[in-house]
Protein backbone atom coordinates (compact mmCIF):
# COMPACT_ATOMS: atom_id res chain seq x y z
CA UNK A 1 0.00 0.00 0.00
CA UNK A 2 1.16 3.52 -0.74
CA UNK A 3 1.59 5.97 2.11
CA UNK A 4 0.51 9.28 0.61
CA UNK A 5 1.31 12.63 2.22
CA UNK A 6 -1.73 14.93 2.06
CA UNK A 7 -0.55 18.56 2.09
CA UNK A 8 -3.14 19.32 4.81
CA UNK A 9 -3.59 16.09 6.80
CA UNK A 10 -0.16 14.51 6.61
CA UNK A 11 0.71 10.94 5.64
CA UNK A 12 -2.25 8.59 5.22
CA UNK A 13 -2.97 5.15 3.80
CA UNK A 14 -3.68 4.97 0.08
CA UNK A 15 -7.20 3.68 0.88
CA UNK A 16 -8.16 7.19 2.05
CA UNK A 17 -7.53 8.61 -1.44
CA UNK A 18 -8.81 8.41 -4.99
CA UNK A 19 -6.49 8.71 -7.94
CA UNK A 20 -6.83 11.56 -10.43
CA UNK A 21 -4.29 10.71 -13.12
CA UNK A 22 -1.65 12.91 -14.67
CA UNK A 23 -1.40 16.47 -13.39
CA UNK A 24 -1.12 19.53 -15.56
CA UNK A 25 -3.23 18.38 -18.53
CA UNK A 26 -4.62 21.71 -19.69
CA UNK A 27 -8.15 22.06 -21.05
CA UNK A 28 -7.89 23.27 -24.66
CA UNK A 29 -8.02 27.06 -24.76
CA UNK A 30 -10.51 27.00 -27.65
CA UNK A 31 -12.26 23.60 -27.53
CA UNK A 32 -14.42 24.37 -30.60
CA UNK A 33 -11.31 24.78 -32.72
CA UNK A 34 -9.87 21.40 -31.71
CA UNK A 35 -10.25 18.57 -34.24
CA UNK A 36 -11.20 15.01 -33.28
CA UNK A 37 -7.65 13.73 -33.17
CA UNK A 38 -6.46 16.54 -30.90
CA UNK A 39 -9.57 16.20 -28.72
CA UNK A 40 -9.09 12.46 -28.22
CA UNK A 41 -5.44 13.16 -27.51
CA UNK A 42 -6.51 15.61 -24.81
CA UNK A 43 -9.05 13.17 -23.37
CA UNK A 44 -7.19 9.89 -23.46
CA UNK A 45 -3.48 10.19 -24.10
CA UNK A 46 -1.22 10.51 -21.08
CA UNK A 47 2.50 10.28 -20.63
CA UNK A 48 3.65 6.97 -19.19
CA UNK A 49 7.16 7.54 -17.93
CA UNK A 50 9.44 5.06 -16.23
CA UNK A 51 10.47 7.39 -13.48
CA UNK A 52 9.06 10.56 -11.98
CA UNK A 53 5.45 11.34 -12.79
CA UNK A 54 3.32 14.35 -11.76
CA UNK A 55 -0.10 13.16 -10.67
CA UNK A 56 -3.26 14.14 -8.84
CA UNK A 57 -4.88 12.59 -5.79
CA UNK A 58 -7.95 13.54 -3.77
CA UNK A 59 -8.16 12.86 -0.05
CA UNK A 60 -11.71 11.50 -0.07
CA UNK A 61 -11.75 10.14 3.49
CA UNK A 62 -10.12 13.23 4.93
CA UNK A 63 -10.08 16.86 3.86
CA UNK A 64 -11.59 16.05 0.42
CA UNK A 65 -9.03 18.28 -1.32
CA UNK A 66 -7.26 17.61 -4.60
CA UNK A 67 -3.51 17.97 -4.68
CA UNK A 68 -0.47 17.17 -6.76
CA UNK A 69 2.46 14.89 -5.97
CA UNK A 70 5.52 13.65 -7.84
CA UNK A 71 5.62 9.83 -7.78
CA UNK A 72 8.35 7.54 -9.06
CA UNK A 73 6.67 4.82 -11.12
CA UNK A 74 9.37 2.26 -10.37
CA UNK A 75 10.19 2.86 -6.70
CA UNK A 76 6.81 4.36 -5.77
CA UNK A 77 8.62 7.06 -3.85
CA UNK A 78 6.39 10.13 -3.45
CA UNK A 79 7.69 13.68 -3.19
CA UNK A 80 6.53 17.28 -3.17
CA UNK A 81 2.86 17.07 -2.11
CA UNK A 82 1.34 20.46 -2.82
CA UNK A 83 -2.00 22.17 -3.47
CA UNK A 84 -3.04 22.34 -7.11
CA UNK A 85 -1.57 25.35 -8.83
CA UNK A 86 1.47 25.58 -6.59
CA UNK A 87 4.80 24.65 -8.09
CA UNK A 88 7.68 23.20 -6.13
Amino acid sequence: MLYIPCPWCGPRDETEFRYGGEAGVAYPADPDAVDDAAWSEYLFVRSNPKGWFEERWVHTSGCRRWFTVRRHTVSYEIRDPRPIGEST
Binding site: W8, C9, R12, T15, S61, G62, C63, R64
Partner: protein
Protein backbone atom coordinates in the same frame (compact mmCIF):
# COMPACT_ATOMS: atom_id res chain seq x y z
CA UNK B 1 -46.41 17.76 28.69
CA UNK B 2 -44.08 17.63 25.74
CA UNK B 3 -42.62 14.33 24.68
CA UNK B 4 -39.05 14.22 23.36
CA UNK B 5 -39.45 12.19 20.20
CA UNK B 6 -35.72 12.00 19.46
CA UNK B 7 -34.08 8.57 19.40
CA UNK B 8 -30.34 8.43 19.16
CA UNK B 9 -28.70 5.91 16.80
CA UNK B 10 -27.12 4.08 19.75
CA UNK B 11 -30.00 4.26 22.23
CA UNK B 12 -30.42 0.50 22.07
CA UNK B 13 -26.73 -0.09 22.79
CA UNK B 14 -26.45 2.40 25.67
CA UNK B 15 -26.57 -0.36 28.29
CA UNK B 16 -23.89 -2.43 26.58
CA UNK B 17 -21.65 0.57 26.04
CA UNK B 18 -21.95 1.57 29.70
CA UNK B 19 -21.32 -1.96 30.98
CA UNK B 20 -17.96 -2.45 29.28
CA UNK B 21 -14.61 -1.61 30.83
CA UNK B 22 -13.78 0.80 33.62
CA UNK B 23 -11.53 3.69 34.61
CA UNK B 24 -8.45 1.44 34.47
CA UNK B 25 -8.98 0.37 30.87
CA UNK B 26 -11.46 2.01 28.51
CA UNK B 27 -15.02 3.28 28.66
CA UNK B 28 -17.54 4.19 25.98
CA UNK B 29 -20.49 6.56 26.00
CA UNK B 30 -22.70 7.98 23.31
CA UNK B 31 -23.22 11.73 23.51
CA UNK B 32 -26.43 11.91 21.53
CA UNK B 33 -27.97 14.89 19.73
CA UNK B 34 -24.98 17.22 19.91
CA UNK B 35 -25.50 20.23 17.67
CA UNK B 36 -23.30 20.13 14.58
CA UNK B 37 -23.03 22.92 12.05
CA UNK B 38 -20.88 22.69 8.97
CA UNK B 39 -19.35 26.02 8.17
CA UNK B 40 -17.63 26.90 4.93
CA UNK B 41 -16.26 30.32 4.20
CA UNK B 42 -15.11 31.91 0.96
CA UNK B 43 -11.72 33.58 0.92
CA UNK B 44 -13.35 36.99 1.39
CA UNK B 45 -15.71 35.94 4.23
CA UNK B 46 -16.01 38.35 7.18
CA UNK B 47 -14.26 36.05 9.63
CA UNK B 48 -14.23 38.57 12.47
CA UNK B 49 -18.03 38.57 12.44
CA UNK B 50 -18.01 34.76 12.50
CA UNK B 51 -15.67 34.91 15.52
CA UNK B 52 -18.17 37.23 17.23
CA UNK B 53 -21.13 34.98 16.43
CA UNK B 54 -19.25 31.98 17.82
CA UNK B 55 -17.46 33.77 20.68
CA UNK B 56 -14.54 31.78 19.32
CA UNK B 57 -11.59 32.23 16.97
CA UNK B 58 -11.86 29.67 14.17
CA UNK B 59 -8.67 27.61 13.97
CA UNK B 60 -6.81 28.11 10.68
CA UNK B 61 -4.72 24.97 10.80
CA UNK B 62 -6.35 21.87 9.35
CA UNK B 63 -6.67 19.30 12.16
CA UNK B 64 -6.88 21.80 15.01
CA UNK B 65 -9.79 22.53 17.37
CA UNK B 66 -10.72 25.75 19.15
CA UNK B 67 -13.05 25.50 22.13
CA UNK B 68 -15.05 27.72 24.42
CA UNK B 69 -17.21 26.09 27.05
CA UNK B 70 -18.87 23.16 25.33
CA UNK B 71 -18.55 24.66 21.86
CA UNK B 72 -15.83 23.26 19.59
CA UNK B 73 -14.78 24.42 16.16
CA UNK B 74 -12.90 21.71 14.26
CA UNK B 75 -10.94 22.75 11.19
CA UNK B 76 -11.57 19.89 8.72
CA UNK B 77 -9.93 21.44 5.65
CA UNK B 78 -8.97 24.91 4.45
CA UNK B 79 -11.95 27.24 5.14
CA UNK B 80 -14.10 24.31 6.27
CA UNK B 81 -15.11 23.84 9.91
CA UNK B 82 -17.42 21.63 11.94
CA UNK B 83 -18.85 23.52 14.91
CA UNK B 84 -20.30 21.30 17.65
CA UNK B 85 -21.97 22.13 20.93
CA UNK B 86 -24.33 20.77 23.59
CA UNK B 87 -27.66 19.38 22.41
CA UNK B 88 -30.71 21.56 22.05
CA UNK B 89 -33.02 20.97 25.03
CA UNK B 90 -35.87 20.05 22.68
CA UNK B 91 -36.02 18.93 19.05
CA UNK B 92 -35.64 21.77 16.53
CA UNK B 93 -35.58 21.74 12.75
CA UNK B 94 -32.45 23.84 12.73
CA UNK B 95 -30.20 25.00 15.53
CA UNK B 96 -30.15 28.74 16.13
CA UNK B 97 -26.38 28.64 15.72
CA UNK B 98 -26.59 27.86 12.00
CA UNK B 99 -28.86 30.84 11.40
CA UNK B 100 -26.64 33.12 13.45
CA UNK B 101 -23.58 32.10 11.42
CA UNK B 102 -25.39 32.72 8.13
CA UNK B 103 -26.52 36.15 9.32
CA UNK B 104 -22.99 36.98 10.42
CA UNK B 105 -21.28 35.65 7.33
CA UNK B 106 -23.65 36.74 4.58
CA UNK B 107 -23.23 35.45 1.06
CA UNK B 108 -19.59 34.46 1.59
CA UNK B 109 -20.50 31.81 4.14
CA UNK B 110 -22.41 28.54 4.10
CA UNK B 111 -23.62 27.25 7.48
CA UNK B 112 -25.70 24.10 7.49
CA UNK B 113 -27.11 22.28 10.49
CA UNK B 114 -25.94 18.67 10.13
CA UNK B 115 -26.74 17.57 13.69
CA UNK B 116 -28.73 14.57 12.52
CA UNK B 117 -25.96 13.36 10.22
CA UNK B 118 -23.69 11.95 12.89
CA UNK B 119 -23.77 10.82 16.47
CA UNK B 120 -20.94 11.16 18.96
CA UNK B 121 -19.14 8.38 20.84
CA UNK B 122 -16.61 9.26 23.53
CA UNK B 123 -13.86 6.70 24.08
CA UNK B 124 -11.86 7.33 27.24
CA UNK B 125 -9.28 5.68 29.43
CA UNK B 126 -5.70 4.41 29.40
CA UNK B 127 -6.49 1.89 26.63
CA UNK B 128 -8.56 4.24 24.46
CA UNK B 129 -5.67 4.76 22.05
CA UNK B 130 -5.04 1.00 21.80
CA UNK B 131 -8.69 0.30 20.98
CA UNK B 132 -8.77 2.92 18.21
CA UNK B 133 -5.44 1.71 16.84
CA UNK B 134 -7.05 -1.63 15.97
CA UNK B 135 -8.91 0.08 13.14
CA UNK B 136 -7.32 3.45 12.52
CA UNK B 137 -4.03 4.04 10.73
CA UNK B 138 -3.59 7.65 11.82
CA UNK B 139 -0.78 8.09 14.33
CA UNK B 140 -2.52 9.01 17.61
CA UNK B 141 0.67 8.84 19.68
CA UNK B 142 1.16 11.96 21.86
CA UNK B 143 4.14 13.00 19.72
CA UNK B 144 1.82 13.27 16.69
CA UNK B 145 -1.65 13.98 18.12
CA UNK B 146 -3.12 15.37 21.33
CA UNK B 147 -5.84 17.41 23.00
CA UNK B 148 -7.06 20.13 20.68
CA UNK B 149 -6.38 18.06 17.58
CA UNK B 150 -8.89 16.50 15.18
CA UNK B 151 -8.88 14.69 11.89
CA UNK B 152 -11.12 13.03 9.37
CA UNK B 153 -10.16 9.47 8.64
CA UNK B 154 -11.47 5.91 8.54
CA UNK B 155 -12.04 3.90 11.71
CA UNK B 156 -12.75 0.24 11.00
CA UNK B 157 -13.43 1.42 7.43
CA UNK B 158 -16.19 3.81 8.59
CA UNK B 159 -15.56 7.47 7.84
CA UNK B 160 -15.27 9.41 11.08
CA UNK B 161 -14.27 12.72 12.51
CA UNK B 162 -11.87 12.03 15.34
CA UNK B 163 -11.11 14.56 18.06
CA UNK B 164 -8.95 14.27 21.17
CA UNK B 165 -10.45 16.00 24.20
CA UNK B 166 -7.91 15.39 26.97
CA UNK B 167 -4.88 13.39 28.05
CA UNK B 168 -6.86 10.59 29.78
CA UNK B 169 -6.90 10.17 26.80
CA UNK B 170 -10.45 10.85 25.70
CA UNK B 171 -11.21 10.61 22.00
CA UNK B 172 -14.46 11.83 20.50
CA UNK B 173 -15.64 9.86 17.48
CA UNK B 174 -18.27 11.44 15.24
CA UNK B 175 -19.78 8.82 13.00
CA UNK B 176 -22.62 8.85 10.51
CA UNK B 177 -25.88 7.69 12.08
CA UNK B 178 -26.21 4.74 9.72
CA UNK B 179 -22.71 3.50 10.62
CA UNK B 180 -23.04 4.14 14.36
CA UNK B 181 -24.33 0.75 15.40
CA UNK B 182 -21.73 -1.06 13.31
CA UNK B 183 -18.95 1.09 14.72
CA UNK B 184 -20.14 0.80 18.33
CA UNK B 185 -20.22 -2.98 18.04
CA UNK B 186 -16.78 -2.91 16.45
CA UNK B 187 -15.47 -0.76 19.35
CA UNK B 188 -16.92 -3.15 21.93
CA UNK B 189 -15.25 -6.04 20.12
CA UNK B 190 -11.92 -4.20 19.79
CA UNK B 191 -11.98 -3.49 23.52
CA UNK B 192 -12.34 -7.16 24.49
CA UNK B 193 -8.69 -7.76 25.27
CA UNK B 194 -8.45 -4.68 27.52
CA UNK B 195 -11.61 -5.01 29.56
CA UNK B 196 -10.99 -8.52 30.86
Amino acid sequence: MTVDVRRSPLAELAGELAAVGGPGSVRFAERPFRVQVELRAAADAPVSRLYEALALMLPRGVGYVASTGDRDALCLAPRWWLVTQSPEPAPVLESALAGRLRTAGGAAVSAVDVSAQRTTIDVTGPNARDVLAHGCSVDLHPRAFGPGRCTQTALAKAQVVLQQLDRAPTFRVLVRASFARYLAEWLLDAATEYVG
